[in-house]
Symmetry: C2
Subunit: 194 residues, 2 copies
């Protein structure tokens, strides 16, 4: 479990790239800026990512995938009732977004939108991340007794709605869209219990 034995250069570069791309998007983030933020030299970045910016983009998305999956798992397991868990999750996203000064939204949305149809490697990493997150939600619902089909459909809408509400909250600089979405998702989930 010891998981912070001083990060190596590669790890620092990936983290910096992931954070910057979350906030500025893929196109808006420069490799020099990543190197600077990671306290690495440009040569080191290209040493670890000979494929250049695209390869770095893929690594950044995969890193964000893992990080967000952990956040999701933790939030979802905070409550036994999945409806309440989703409310807690939305609340946690709202808190993190607000505390960041409204800059830390979904870690991969910007990159996803900018590269769709133009960078197949990144596109695939993004698709896998979304699938990963949906699977986590679907698993939670199945464990709570929801039938397979309902769990899958609800997972799609839970992730979609959280994504959209995070974007809306970021744009409006308000927690409200995420709070409201959480309550509405809980209501939707509960409507399947009957």
């Amino acid at each position: 479990m010891a998981n912070t034995p001083q990060p190596g250069t590669r790890e620092r570069v990936v983290r910096a790239a992931s954070l910057l791309m979350q906030r500025q998007g893929y196109e808006g983030t420069g490799i020099k800026q990543v190197a600077q933020e990671a306290k690495a030299t440009l040569g080191s970045v290209y040493h670890f990512f000979p494929g250049g910016k695209q390869e770095l983009g893929v690594a950044a998305v995969q890193h964000a995938d893992q990080e967000f999956a952990e956040l999701l798992s933790t939030s979802l397991s905070a409550e036994a009732d999945p409806a309440k868990a989703v409310v807690a999750c939305a609340g946690e996203l709202a808190r993190l977004l607000r505390d960041s000064g409204w800059v830390d939204g979904c870690p991969i949305s910007a990159t996803a939108l900018e590269t769709t149809g133009r960078a197949p490697d990144i596109e695939q990493a993004v698709a896998e991340a979304f699938q990963h997150w949906r699977d986590l939600v679907a698993g939670t619902l199945r464990e709570a007794g929801f039938p397979e089909g309902d769990a899958r459909d609800l997972a799609i809408t839970v992730i979609s709605t959280l994504e959209g509400a995070e974007l809306t909250a970021q744009v409006a600089k308000s927690e409200t869209p995420l709070r409201v979405a959480g309550e509405h998702l809980a209501r939707l989930i509960d409507s399947y219990k009957r």
Copy 2:
């Protein structure tokens, strides 16, 4: 009603900018590319937009705002029952996205995410667009007899969910997320009727 008497240069530039930024984002779209796509010269672009790329970005977002508002109005008034109207709307978005080869998602999401916290003018135009769209949905719900508070909250979630489902559908290159979101939103809206 005669509304296409051959667009002037300014109009062509705005349309091209709006379309390119929808597909590639703000950072990923070059002014030269906009000029070329609009069959205008670089000099003309700067003649109409002396404020440069930022000013052009604002105009592109405002244009997209109007266009999407019309799409929304048309879709929503296709059905008298607001729950059915939202399903129709989601279906229309899915159709347009698929027909574009999965490139034409929300016209301003990419720009919104890239410029948040970094270009106040664009940020504001984006915030106004989202508010505009929410108001349209809220108006539809009020006209159908929903009380003010419910209409406002539901409008927030309808727009948020459509945004997120469009992103999810685009990434997955599948209509399913939008179709499922439409059905779930209808279910949510109906749950307020009782």
